[in-house]
Subunit: 347 residues, 2 copies
């Protein structure tokens, strides 16, 4: 089947998205793939498959490739003054991590231009991109999460959580700007680092001895299909560089050694988060288990390299998801009120 | 000052948006205004000011006017094969009610193409367009609202709220699909009506003897500027046709006769809702007062004709708001990780 991988974006995770797209080229080699790159200036380029290497972008070679623009139903490629336009109408897989891809921008663009896509819709982005709104969601749908306090830039923060604690920008993924703070003397610096990336910062207790489990899934053919549960390699926490390397993962991992009861609990929590909000997307939920409680840590609505390593038949998963995409119903416009008013006025 | 009114949209409130835009033409006559119409097929047209009449659109005459497309920093007007493009770069006032305008789509488009605009940003749209998410917001920021239950299409609904109750589609404004249900025998029909418009429906108790107060405001020059508090004319509730006429209001209304304490309470609640989320927009919050409690009923992030009738100097309000718009910071793209990896690999 045909599929277009959309990657890049004006985001701190721009490079990670390139790595993810290159990984998918390999993992979805049975597909008829196209690649569209969104650069830091929000220009779209059609990238030849054999140019899908990191250096193509770091050297700026993409700028010599055909530029595309959005039009109803397609990315259109201009063919010079007299040549007409070539249209790229395949289903898009939104592989842009962070800003643009996960904040609702790309979702809204593709919806507006009626292009079908795999990826989170606008509301799903709002509730997953900003960790504070993930907390709001948890509180409202009855999913537990780690206790938190909010600090605002240029405002006195009154943190009551005891040490050690973790400080993170509300709206960035991939551990950018995140610090573990062991004592009060380190707090101001950690807040300053986080405020470099966002004006809103979350503070949470650092849970010693917490277990971490990742579970991915997607909705297709009337049901949620779950990946295996993974217990990620855990150092104190992954910094950006380590996570970056992690995004190119493509080897199937081992299933975590957990009880069937815990697996059921994790899936039930995933289900609560996913349904009615994440349809159309393959997401990964990262959970904590602490004192026998399952806590949602974060939602990755576009996980690194689509968490391919958690699925037994990843190509099949993407294919069945692409056949179960929600379609935005566009209301039919009528002018009945204007007609009736015009009529009443005798015009 | 220059300002472009963007209106229309593929929405059930398409006609209402046309009425709002025509009203603003009169209320902002001191501005140098342009008008861009988004039709039901998501095509943009530049409308001459003297064609800003409802019949222009109901008769399809806009199709003879110049078509525009989005490009970095502007709406661009094609001038034929050799003519180049004219760019429209003014600040946009997003006057599209309902879908497109209030669901985050237009916000994302204008952000992506770096066009400055008055109107709610993507997250603000998510939390105001879907009434269920407004409830989530209220629960998390400590603003009270009416108790609610959720019904899903094609699922058995178990409503425990006692009669009379009110049934409303989660995602539509202007009272479309809303019913008051006096007894159980009427419930199924009311749910069916609401499910015509949304797969998620909210059910709330109908509060007898509730007082209703509207308060609008916006953030500019470092502070929130509030409108007067209005006690809207109240019949049982306004149906679509009455609300439609209401959207062309332009006469200043009288301040509600309320105590200074209540006014302070309403403003404090407005403040909690607005700050950190609605900057860039002029919104109207509709409150209930019931048994001495202030409850948020709904947030209108693009109120009909911008609630001009609630402001003493509406033109001044719009001007100062347009000078205090948030600007989306776009991260600078670097390729340091790719460079360092390529270097390590000797490529």
């Amino acid at each position: 089947m045909k599929l277009t991988i959309l990657f890049g974006g004006a985001s701190f995770e721009h490079e990670i998205s390139i790595v993810s797209a290159i990984t998918l080229k390999e993992k979805l080699s049975s597909f008829d793939l196209s690649f569209i790159f969104c650069d830091g200036d929000h220009k779209f380029y059609l990238i030849e498959a054999d140019k899908m290497k990191a250096v193509t972008f770091s050297r700026g070679e993409h700028k010599k490739m055909p530029q595309l623009s959005l039009t109803q139903g397609a990315f259109a490629q201009k063919k010079g003054v007299f040549g007409g336009a070539v249209e790229h109408k395949d289903v898009v897989l939104n592989m842009i991590h962070g800003a643009d891809g996960e904040d609702g921008t790309i979702a809204a663009l593709l919806d507006f231009y009626s292009i079908k896509y795999i990826g989170p819709r606008v509301d799903a982005c709002t509730f997953s991109y900003d960790k504070r709104y993930t907390k709001y969601l948890c509180e409202s749908i009855g999913v537990k999460s780690v206790r938190y306090e909010v600090a605002h830039k240029d405002e006195l923060s009154n943190i009551t959580i005891s040490y050690p604690l973790i400080v993170k920008p509300s709206r960035l993924g991939s551990s950018i700007g995140v610090s573990i703070v062991k004592e009060e003397s380190e707090l101001d610096y950690a807040l300053d680092v986080a405020f470099e990336f966002d004006s809103v910062v979350l503070v949470e207790p650092f849970l010693e001895g917490v277990k971490e489990y990742n579970l991915a899934g997607y909705f297709a053919d009337g049901a949620i299909h779950y990946s295996i549960v993974e217990e990620p390699h855990k150092e104190e926490f992954l910094d950006f560089e380590k996570k970056y390397m992690d995004f190119s993962r493509s080897e199937q991992v081992l299933k975590a050694d957990i009880s069937p009861e815990l697996e059921t609990k994790l899936k039930a929590n995933f289900d609560k988060v996913y349904r009615g909000m994440f349809e159309g997307a393959l997401i990964r939920c990262d959970f904590f288990v602490y004192h026998d409680e399952v806590l949602l840590n974060e939602i990755n609505p576009i996980p690194g390299s689509m968490a391919n390593y958690l699925f037994e038949d990843f190509a099949h998963s993407i294919e069945s998801l692409s056949l179960s995409l929600p379609h935005a119903k566009r209301p039919k416009i009528s002018y009945e009120y204007i007609h009736s008013i015009s009529k009443a006025k005798g015009k």
